[in-house]
């Protein structure tokens, strides 16, 4: 027993500094050695072996450790793609066995990825050609469907770690792309017209008074002609948005912009046609051009940080339906009431159904945020959106469903923040005040000039509305937040949207989850005791039915394939038990398995007993993330609590990290965590919760800023506001500081843009706004705001993060 432990430790030490040859993660976990190269998991090793067999190890030449860590799925995961109805939807064309398909593969990230995916034909001769689109993370594959089926192509991709995400609503994606193109086209046309209008306005700029009047006239008419596409095409979205917000009786920043564009155009056209002046077409085109640049920048930023964990990709596309004696894949929306379906482990239930299996564990965390799987007994209803954990379950459908029904489930209020609807971002609040004061000012000036010089009312009021157009104001937020999102993304913090930065700046209470957040995900695991291999497999079979982090670790540490259970029970906080081949396996705390607990608290222990025989225990050493202690010190009093769902085994270790004023609570259920956070919020705190995803989804949802800490950023957490890569957790204090700086920068730039507006208005109100003044003022204000925000954000980020 003792020697066992020593051997395990020695092995762990020897490998502790090794990096997985495939994916670059440090590998302490297991013993995966091939060709003198160490791998962190079975998955990585398999991929290497596949590549090695096919002489594709060039893959590792282009970039070091290019691989992607993944879990191996069952081989038939993609079998449903071979159903004709499904493949029809996905294939781009299929003529005489020549098929083309486009897969979306979010993990594409480097040169090696491109290389491997474009050499798929060396892995399987059925693939004719494959081409990667790096920007969109898609791969276009031509294959011979007589040699390889669509399902096999998908499985081939998955076997190399590039698992495609398949979404039957993928038709929505090209639309998306078209929209992006539209913006660029709008921008191009606005820029083209802007340049030409400026050129044609030269005589005005240079004040050539004796120039041919007729020539000036022609130039002005050309300007109207050039401004038309700017207003009608490029500026279209502002009118639409303003109209929408007007109908909802709200005022957003697009309202004054739309008014400004419209007034500029009408006034300029009337000036030109009535031969009262050259008009402000150059300002108009410039305004739209700069605004569109801002919008384009914002889109680019979101695109590069896309939260592409699109929840729809988690929907099952097809499930196995019982037809006679057979199980056949069937597309979800063809399911009818009364159909019998089989849902496997980790699959999502597509429709409200009645359970036929004896029992099943359903995880409703996507729907309700509650993390503990619920046990359902035969004859009870299970609801769409739940996820089967553990054994596969048979059920009969009682209510037909559609993808959109599932979508609406996931868009449930549960996942939108409780007070988000009332929450107005800084820029919206400013816009509201701004719009009303501009309208008020226009009225007031109009009234004054009506008394003073009634003939000039029209000119002056339009001048006020034109110059008040909040171009710089509209650019301030996208550029400040956009640059900040970019900086944070480069350092491993991916936020859902820009508003989160504002909320983050106000955070004054931070709550940590323990396992997976403070402690590292990849724990060193050691078995102490006597157990045969067969028994170990049984232990794995039981452990793999539970979603507890420790069970998952144990199941992962045993490599063999699991057996089916005849019975399974989970006792939260104590352990799990299951019946495998007539043997009762108990996994859990010492008391649960009937053993004497060891008195020291050096590590978490999970005890095993089989048919009442005490076999021994797994010892899991939870290692602290590096830098966590320093981080906690820096955060100081903001660290309010450590909430852990596990036993107090690590309390002493945690005490060395956290200060006495930090509450430490163990054995917390997800509901307890949620309650604790809402308690803090009632006290007026803005709470940031850091958890490891689904297990904490309730708490992440409740908190003002819920950050999922993930070692593998592919984890999907519908209720979180951001994903922080585990290795960057120690930078958290800096991220918080940065968000505060971002808010200050935004406020200063708002001040700058308002200053320009005041300056312009003072010209307008007094009736001195000449086209030349407008033409200078507008671009200068926009450019200076953009330059200021971008420069400041990068300066601050460089100071704080280096």
């Amino acid at each position: 027993m003792q020697s066992d432990q020593l051997a395990v430790e020695a092995r762990a030490k020897k490998q502790s500094d090794a990096l997985c040859y495939h994916c670059g993660q440090s590998c302490k976990e297991g013993d995966y050695l091939t060709d003198q190269k160490s791998f962190c998991c079975y998955g990585c090793k398999t991929v290497y072996e596949i590549l090695n067999e096919n002489n594709l190890c060039e893959y590792y030449d282009y970039e070091a450790n290019p691989g992607v860590r993944f879990e191996i799925d069952n081989d038939d995961t993609f079998a449903y793609l071979d159903e004709v109805r499904i493949s029809e939807k996905i294939l781009l064309y299929n003529i005489n066995g020549m098929s083309r398909v486009q897969f979306y593969i979010p993990v594409i990230h480097c040169i090696s990825c491109i290389w491997l995916l474009e050499n798929l034909n060396r892995l399987n001769a059925g693939v004719i050609k494959s081409e990667v689109n790096f920007a969109k993370k898609t791969v276009l594959i031509d294959f011979n469907s007589n040699q390889i089926t669509l399902g096999k192509v998908a499985a081939l991709l998955a076997s190399t770690g590039y698992k495609p995400l398949i979404n039957l609503e993928a038709e929505a994606q090209p639309k998306n792309r078209k929209y992006d193109n539209t913006l660029v086209l709008q921008l191009a046309i606005a820029g083209f017209c802007f340049g030409n209008i400026m050129l044609l306005s030269f005589p005005e700029y240079l004040g050539i008074d004796h120039a041919d009047e007729k020539l000036k006239q022609v130039f002005s008419y050309l300007n109207i002609f050039l401004a038309l596409p700017v207003v009608l095409y490029s500026g279209r979205d502002y009118f639409i948005s303003a109209w929408k917000s007007f109908r909802q009786k709200q005022v957003n920043i697009d309202v004054p912009i739309a008014v400004g564009i419209l007034v500029l155009f009408v006034r300029s056209t009337s000036d030109i046609l009535l031969q009262q002046g050259p008009g402000y077409m150059d300002s108009l085109a410039g305004l739209v051009f700069f605004l569109l640049i801002g919008r384009w920048f914002q889109n680019k930023t979101y695109e590069s940080l896309a939260f592409d964990r699109d929840y729809k990709s988690y929907f099952p596309l097809a499930v196995y339906k019982q037809v006679g004696e057979e199980w056949k894949a069937c597309i979800i929306h063809e399911l009818k009431k009364g159909d019998v379906i089989r849902i496997r482990n980790k699959e999502i239930i597509p429709a409200d159904s009645l359970l036929l299996s004896e029992f099943a564990y359903i995880d409703y965390s996507f729907v309700t945020g509650e993390a503990n799987p619920v046990k359902v007994i035969a004859g009870e209803l299970v609801y769409a959106g739940g996820r089967v954990t553990g054994q596969s379950a048979r059920m009969t459908i009682v209510k037909e469903t559609s993808q959109s029904h599932l979508t609406s489930l996931w868009n449930n209020d549960v996942f939108s923040k409780p007070d988000r609807n009332n929450y107005k971002s800084l820029i919206d609040r400013v816009a509201k005040i701004f719009t009303w004061s501009v309208l008020g000012l226009a009225l007031a000036t109009g009234a004054y000039w009506y008394w003073a010089d009634a003939e000039r009312v029209w000119l002056i009021v339009t001048a006020v509305l034109m110059v008040a157009c909040p171009c710089a104001l509209a650019l301030a937020a996208p550029f400040t937040y956009g640059s900040m999102l970019r900086v944070l993304g480069n350092h491993g913090l991916y936020l859902k949207n820009a508003d989160i930065i504002e909320t983050m700046a106000g955070v004054d209470a931070i709550v940590f989850d323990k396992t997976g957040t403070i402690t590292h995900g990849s724990n060193a695991i050691a078995w102490i005791g006597n157990i045969s291999k067969d028994e170990l497999i049984k232990v794995k079979s039981v452990a793999s039915c539970s979603t507890h982090p420790l069970s998952i670790l144990i199941a992962k540490s045993i490599k063999e394939k699991e057996l089916t259970l005849t019975q399974f029970d989970e006792f939260p906080g104590r352990g799990v038990q299951g019946l495998v081949e007539g043997k009762l396996i108990k996994i859990g705390s010492a008391e649960f398995t009937g053993q004497q607990p060891l008195s020291d608290h050096a590590a978490s222990r999970v005890y095993i007993s089989i048919d009442g025989d005490i076999k021994g225990y797994f010892e899991l050493r939870t290692t602290l993330r590096p830098g966590i202690k320093v981080l906690v010190e820096k955060l100081g009093y903001r660290v309010k609590a450590l909430l852990s769902g596990d036993s107090a085994a690590d309390e002493i270790k945690m005490k060395s990290v956290f200060q006495p004023y930090t509450t430490m609570a163990f054995l917390q259920s997800p509901q307890d965590k949620l309650n604790y956070i809402s308690g803090l919020q009632k006290k007026g705190n803005k709470v940031m919760m850091l958890g490891d995803g689904l297990n904490d989804s309730g708490a992440l949802k409740q908190s003002d800023v819920g950050i999922a800490v993930a070692d593998d950023t592919g984890v999907f957490t519908p209720s979180c506001d951001g994903i922080l890569s585990g290795a960057q957790l120690d930078q958290l204090d800096r991220f918080l500081d940065l968000s505060k700086s971002a808010l200050i920068i935004l406020k200063v730039s708002l001040g700058i843009s308002l200053l320009y507006n005041v300056l312009g208005l003072s010209f307008a109100v007094t009736g001195h706004l000449t086209p030349l003044v407008a033409a200078i003022l507008m671009p200068v204000s926009s450019i200076s705001v953009v330059v200021f925000t971008t420069f400041m954000v990068n300066l601050v980020a460089q100071r704080k993060l280096s």
């Binding site: 060039e58 290389w115 689109n133 920007a135 193109n181 191009a188 007729k214 050309l222």
Partner: protein
Amino acid sequence: MTIIILLIGISLTIALIFLGGFIWSMKSGQYDDTYGPSVRMLFDDKSKKKSKKS
């Protein structure tokens, strides 16, 4: 001075041709992936690699 009007006409036409060119290149997808092609040309030829190994 009519020559200026003629020149303006010509310059606008040329500019419009370039704008049209840009729109065409945009629509035909030349800007869809600006990273892939730049690395793809650096990959060794498959056939060469194979013959070297065998």
